[in-house]
Each structure stands twice: as structure tokens, then as C-alpha cells.
């Protein structure tokens, strides 16, 4: 059962990484224009990446 003491923190670290990534997506404005961003990725002429100004 001692393996739990290793695995549990490890799984928590993994989940925290996910949470940090989610936090970054909010901070960098990736939910400001879902419709537009979906289209930008398909068109080479459009600047891609989230809008830094919003």
C-alpha cells in the first residue's frame, strides 16, 4: 500500500499541471473569440494565436 504515498502526490502534480494550463488559457484570452479562433487556425493569411490586446 505504500505505493499509494508515491502515486497519490504524483497524480496530484499531474492534475495541478492541468489546472495551471487552464489558468494560463484564461489569462491569455483564449476564450474571448472562440468563433474567430476556430477559423484562424485554418487560414494562413490570418494572424493566429489569441489576441494579445483583449
Amino acid at each position: 500500500m505504500t505505493i499509494v504515498l508515491l502515486l497519490a502526490p504524483f497524480s496530484l502534480v499531474l492534475a495541478l499541471t492541468g489546472l495551471a494550463a487552464f489558468w494560463w488559457t484564461i489569462r491569455s484570452g483564449q476564450y474571448e473569440d472562440p468563433k474567430g479562433d476556430a477559423a484562424r487556425i485554418l487560414d494562413d493569411h490570418l494572424a493566429d494565436g489569441p489576441n494579445p490586446d483583449v
Binding site: 497524480s11 487552464f22 483583449v54
Partner: protein
């Protein structure tokens, strides 16, 4: 006189960012797809002086950066309009609200709660397995609980902040809203779980505390998103009536400024087709003014030097130079503003369904929990077991379903209305709308289109006058030209401001305009008319009337079928009001009312115990809109009315009124069903918790289950609530 459209000076909308480059935000309409987005960005970036352009397809806003400190938004707007995308500059003050801090906070809280719920459950699932006989040894169980506590406690404390804050604010006002039991439930659950874990007990509810918040935050977040979308759509409607004024300085240089910067004593220029921005006195020029938005009157008013003009009037025919009498804030007629304030206050006393439920729920459940504790102890359970059962009562009676009962329904119904072009400002508005039993319409711009239409005229007479009408910009002349169809225009046309238009048709000189312009006496002062005649020939008279909205009669019939009574209150003269009311099938009507009269009528109806829905658009309706039990305004209404109204509907159809009423009524039924279900659930769950039949697994399943039922019932709103 033809008016060349001078290039607009919109530099007032350009702001400077930190690096001292100019920036402007434009609201662009008509973009639907990725192709449009690419085109808009290309066109904008190609405009002179532009360094970068970025279009947000979701909100329809185009952010433009200039290479230098300043740039000319008008050039970009013209370029976009050529491509078929009408654009309007956005007031920098209004654009800042786009920064949605609260939405980001809620999204983060939701993410944290989701993380906490998932990971705390990872540790409690092995414990749940123990309830099926696969006994976990107590020390391992305690390790699991400590891990769960480590994850769930910080997450619950962080994610619970929106609830804690709202609960605290409500408690300080001496009231208890739904967030109070939620906050108490979460905090008490954590405390009891810690004490259980420390004492090696089996009943810790760390996962339940954070799961409760997760489920509730989903509702909160969706609700916020929807409202933010409705609010920004409402702002866009207002931004489209871009409030700018053209000021001329002593040197005669014209410059466009935001209306807010207009000072008393300034000289302003108002060209035909623009609205008078502030209360002012005419210095030079003459014109006809359309006061429909202010007084509801359809007949236009001739003004000349010395006349006082009111903010909101539409300049119809001539260029006016005005001297400003009042600033923009003072202009919107202080008395009306005061009336509106009083109305809004009386309305804020309205108690929402959810708060009514909370007022019942909070004392009952908390008394029950206290009784469980006292009774359990008295009957020999021991303080620890008694406290545990009391906590179980609080957890399992679950404010979750109750907390979601109303918001879930409001989210779904607002979304349904939003897709039909109806913007709902607040959730309370829908509840008030559902109670309405009497509908009051304004005439001009609500029952009617708000623009004149030619009443039947002999075709040959119409064909004679049409060439001259085609050469004029006046709305009456346009209505005449529209009725006549395509054809030739008159030559050598001169427009005499405030009088009419003169020109040559097939070599004969002719005039079209007011009775005085053609040298005749008018007989019917209450009718909107236009006279036409060739020089030295007989004069013919055309009459016009504001066109009834195509579905006005059908709408009134629908409302009557729903058991509502309908009435018209108008500021216009009796004749047109009577005709419009008859055509729409409304028996009760009043004409010639001032804004104060309208409020008085609403107050009288209120005293009779009627719940009134006011549908209006003009400045003269704004006070009544704020006063009524519920109110709606079309998207073409003045901003004061739109701001005061609960619901704003866009599109040319009045059908939005009965549709909104049906949705509001269906929403109330769904909310009541949800309350009934929550009550039933609590009647079963509370005794179970009191007799110690609840364990952490049962609590988790019951909580998610009841939330799911309530949410699914709310989703039924999408199926019912009426067709269009």
C-alpha cells in the same frame, strides 16, 4: 440645395495606448464567417496609417492600431462600407466594459472546483468501496481522507468565494439569500469532516463540499456568460446610434466630438438625417424636425432661427446651426430622469422567486439541523454522532437543487429569447413579465413602423408629383417616391428648408411641400400632408400615415387570446391614434398624453391591482417604462428607454412581445416544478439524514442526482414555451 456629405471627423474615438500609438474600436456588422473576417482585417489593414487590425468574430468588434499617435477611423469605415460591412466607431468609455474580469474569475473558480471535485473523489472512491463490504483498514481510510482534505479544502475555499461574498453581502443587509445556506453548508461540511478525520471516523464529506460548489458554479458561469452577451448586444445597439455632435469653432472649422464633451454655449451643426444631440436654440438655418421619439407625434415641426429644439429630434430637411443650451447629461430632460429613478426604485423592492424560496428554506432547514443535534443528544446519541447527523441534514437537504432551480431555468429561457433577438437584462425581469395581465403600447415606433406611408392617391396624380419627390430627401417625399416606384427625377431642383422642394418637370415649374409653400390653406391640421402643384395649376393634396407594423393586429389578437387586456397610450393627436388602435384591434386608447400623464395612467392601473407591461420606444415613454411592472423596448428606441426597459427586442416584428410573455410564463412553471421537486426531495432526504441513514456515498449521489433533475427540467424550456 443638395448637401454634400462632408468627410466625417471621427478622431474623437481614437485613444492612445501605452506605447503612444493610436487605437480605435469599431463595431462591424454583417460578418458571419472566416472569409468575412479575413476580408475585414485585410481591408482595415490596407487603410492609410493602419499598422494592425484584429477582428473578433464572436463579438463583432474590430480593434485597429495606427502607426502614429492619431489616425482617421472614417477612412477605414468607408473602406469597410464599400465591401458591404457597415461599421461604427465604439465609444472608448463603453468599450472598456468588454474587459470581463468577473467572467474570468468565475471560469477560474469553476476550473479549480472541477479540479478539486475530481481529485478529492479519487481518494474518496476507495472509501465508498468500503460501504459495499470491501472493508478498508481504518488507517488507510484516514490517509485517504487526509489526501482528500488536502485537495478539497483549499479548492472549496477558493472556488466558494463568489458564494461567500454574496452571502456576506446579503447577511449584512439583514436578509438571507440562497448563498447563505450554500456557504454555511460548505463551511460546516468541511469543519465536521476534519473533526471526523481527526477522530478516525468514517463519515467525512470533503468531496461533497467541493462537488456542490462545482455544480453550482457551472450554473453561475453559464448565467454570467449569457448575461454578458445580452448586455454587450444591448450596448452594441446603443453604439449604433453613435452619440456624436459636430462642433464649429470661431474660425468655422467643423470637428466631430462625443456628445459628452459638448459644453453650454458651443455652436453645433446638424445636417439633415442627423438627430439633435442636446437641447439647443437655432442660430441659423431652417428645417423640419421629427419629434416622434420625444413626444410620439408623427407630424413634423418647422423650426427657424430662435426656436428651441430638444435632444433626440431628427433633422429632416435643412442644415441647422445651433447654440447649446444644456449639456448632454442635463438634456435628457431632468424631470423624466427623476421619474425614471423613482420607478426603478419601486421596482427594486420586487422579491425574486429564488429569494422567496430561500426565506422559507433557510429557517426550516437550519431549525431542523439544530433539532437533530439537540434531539439526538437528548436521546442518547452522544454529541459527536448528533453533530454528524445535524451536518448530514445540512448537506443532504442540499441547497444545490434549490440553488439551481431558478438560475437554470433563467439561463435556458434567456438563451431561447436571445436567439429570437430578445435581450433579457435581468432574471427578475422574466419573473415580473410572467405576472403581467395588462399590456400598454406606445403608438409611434411600436405599434407602427415610425415612418410615414402614403395613403391612397390616384395613380396619375401620383405619377405627376413623383419626379419632384424623387429629388428630395424629406421622409414624406421619400414615402411618396416609394409609392410611385422607379422613374425620372425633376431637374433644376431647389429645396427650401422647412417649406418644400421646387423643380422643373417636363419643362413646367412645380412645387411640392407644405400648404403655405403652395399658397393654400390647410383644412386638416391633424393629418400629415404634402401639397403638389404646377405653377398656376390646381393644387393636389397627399396625406400620409405612419404604417402599422405588419403583425400588429395579429400580435394584439394573440395577447387577447392569452387573457391579457391591451391599451394604447400615445403622445400623438387623436386622429392617428384612433386609426392605429382600430386597425390593431385595440378598444382602449388615449391620445395627446405627456410623459407625466403616461406615468399617472400606469400608477392608476397599479392601484387597481393590475400588473402592467409597458412597450414603448420614445423619450416620452422612458418614465413609464421605468415605472411599469415589466417593460420592453424595440432596438430602435432612444437609449434612455432601452436602458430602462427590462427586455429589448430587435427586428421589425412585434411578435416578440407575446413570444417573450409565453417564454416568461413557461419559465415560471419550470421554476415552480423545480421548487416542488426540491421540496419533495428534501422531505425524503431530511428524515433519512436525521435517522443516520446517510453516508458520504449517498450524499454525493443524491446531490448530483437532484441537480441533474432540476437542470434537465430547465432544459425542457427549449422544447416548450411557444413556437414562433
Amino acid at each position: 440645395m443638395t448637401i454634400a456629405l462632408a468627410p466625417r471627423d471621427l478622431s474623437a474615438f481614437v485613444t492612445q495606448d501605452d506605447t503612444d500609438h493610436g487605437r480605435v474600436e469599431l463595431l462591424v456588422t454583417g460578418a458571419r464567417c472566416a472569409g468575412c473576417m479575413a476580408k475585414i482585417e485585410r481591408v482595415a489593414a490596407a487603410a492609410p496609417g493602419v499598422s494592425a487590425a484584429r477582428f473578433n468574430l464572436t463579438t463583432g468588434k474590430l480593434a485597429v492600431s495606427f502607426a502614429g499617435r492619431n489616425g482617421d477611423p472614417a477612412l477605414i469605415i468607408d473602406a469597410l462600407e464599400k465591401e458591404g460591412y457597415p461599421a461604427t466607431p465604439f465609444d472608448p468609455g463603453k468599450a472598456e466594459a468588454a474587459h470581463d474580469k468577473e467572467g474570468r474569475m468565475l471560469a477560474l473558480a469553476l476550473g479549480v472546483a472541477g479540479f478539486g471535485a475530481g481529485n478529492a473523489m479519487m481518494f474518496t472512491v476507495p472509501v465508498w468501496a468500503g460501504f459495499f463490504g470491501q472493508e478498508l483498514d481504518p488507517s488507510t481510510r484516514q490517509v485517504m481522507y487526509w489526501f482528500a482534505a488536502l485537495v478539497a479544502t483549499p479548492c472549496a475555499l477558493f472556488a466558494g468565494q463568489p458564494f461567500f461574498r454574496s452571502a456576506w453581502a446579503s447577511l449584512r443587509k439583514g436578509k438571507a439569500n440562497m448563498d447563505v445556506p450554500i456557504s454555511i453548508g460548505v463551511i460546516l461540511t468541511l469543519i465536521v469532516s476534519f473533526s471526523e478525520t481527526i477522530q478516525h471516523g468514517a463519515h467525512a464529506y470533503f468531496d461533497a463540499a467541493v462537488t456542490l460548489l462545482f455544480l453550482l458554479l457551472i450554473g453561475r458561469y453559464l448565467d454570467h456568460k449569457l448575461r454578458a452577451r445580452a448586455r454587450s448586444a444591448a450596448r452594441d445597439l446603443l453604439a449604433l446610434q453613435a452619440p456624436v455632435a459636430t462642433r464649429i469653432d470661431d474660425l468655422g472649422v467643423e470637428r466631430t466630438i462625443p456628445v459628452g464633451e459638448v459644453e453650454v454655449g458651443d455652436s453645433l451643426v446638424v445636417v439633415p438625417g442627423d438627430r439633435i444631440p442636446v437641447n439647443a436654440i437655432v442660430e441659423a438655418g431652417g428645417s423640419d424636425l421629427d419629434n416622434a421619439l420625444i413626444t410620439g407625434e408623427t407630424a413634423s415641426l418647422a423650426v427657424g432661427p430662435g426656436a428651441v429644439v430638444n435632444a433626440g429630434a431628427l433633422n429632416l430637411s435643412g442644415r441647422l446651426v445651433l447654440r447649446v443650451l444644456a449639456r448632454s447629461e442635463d438634456s435628457a430632460i431632468a424631470a423624466i430622469a427623476r421619474l425614471m429613478e423613482a420607478g426603478a426604485q419601486s421596482r427594486s423592492n420586487y422579491v425574486q422567486l429564488a429569494d422567496k424560496a430561500a426565506a422559507l428554506y433557510v429557517p426550516v432547514v437550519h431549525t431542523l439541523a439544530a433539532l437533530t443535534f439537540a434531539g439526538g443528544w437528548a436521546l442518547g446519541l452522544g454529541p459527536r454522532e448528533a453533530l454528524l447527523r445535524a451536518a448530514a441534514v445540512l448537506i443532504v437537504t442540499c441547497p444545490c437543487a434549490l440553488g439551481l432551480a431558478v438560475p437554470a431555468v433563467q439561463i435556458v429561457s434567456s438563451g431561447r429569447l436571445f436567439r429570437k433577438g430578445v435581450l433579457v437584462k435581468t432574471g427578475a425581469a422574466l419573473e415580473r413579465l410572467a405576472e403581467v395581465d395588462h399590456v400598454v403600447f406606445d403608438k409611434t415606433g411600436v405599434l407602427t413602423e415610425g415612418r410615414p406611408m402614403l395613403l391612397d392617391a390616384p395613380p396619375q396624380v401620383l405619377a405627376m408629383a413623383a419626379p419632384l419627390a424623387r429629388a428630395s430627401r424629406h421622409p414624406l417625399a421619400r414615402a411618396l417616391a416609394e409609392a410611385a416606384g422607379c422613374g425620372e427625377a425633376a431637374t433644376e431642383v431647389t429645396e427650401v428648408a422647412g417649406m418644400g422642394v421646387e423643380g422643373v418637370i417636363d419643362g413646367r415649374r412645380a412645387r411640392l411641400g407644405r400648404a403655405a409653400f403652395l399658397g393654400v390653406e390647410t383644412l386638416h391640421a391633424d393629418e400629415t400632408e404634402l401639397w403638389f402643384g404646377f405653377d398656376g395649376d390646381t393644387r393636389v393634396r397627399f396625406t400620409f400615415e405612419d404604417r402599422l407594423r405588419s403583425d400588429a393586429a395579429a400580435t394584439v389578437a394573440q395577447l387577447k387570446a392569452m387573457g391579457l387586456t391591451v391599451e394604447v397610450l400615445s403622445g400623438d393627436v387623436a386622429g392617428p391614434v384612433l386609426r392605429a388602435a382600430n386597425a390593431a384591434g385595440i378598444d382602449r386608447w388615449s391620445a395627446g398624453l405627456t410623459p407625466f400623464d403616461k406615468v399617472a395612467v400606469l400608477d392608476r392601473l397599479k392601484q387597481e391591482g393590475r400588473k402592467v407591461l409597458m412597450v414603448g420606444d420614445g423619450l416620452n415613454d422612458a418614465a413609464a417604462i421605468a415605472r411599469a411592472h415589466a417593460s420592453m423596448a424595440p432596438g430602435s428606441a432612444v437609449d434612455a428607454s432601452q436602458n430602462a426597459a427590462d427586455l429589448v427586442f430587435s427586428g421589425g416584428l412585434l411578435d416578440a412581445v407575446p413570444f417573450s410573455l409565453r417564454v416568461a410564463r413557461a419559465a415560471r412553471s419550470r421554476a415552480m416544478e423545480n421548487f416542488a421537486f426540491s421540496a419533495l426531495y428534501n422531505v425524503v432526504a431530511a428524515p433519512a439524514a436525521m435517522f443516520g441513514l446517510v453516508n458520504p456515498l449517498v450524499a454525493a449521489v443524491a446531490m448530483s442526482g437532484s441537480s441533474l433533475v432540476v437542470t434537465l427540467n430547465a432544459l425542457r424550456m427549449n422544447l416548450t414555451g411557444g413556437r414562433r
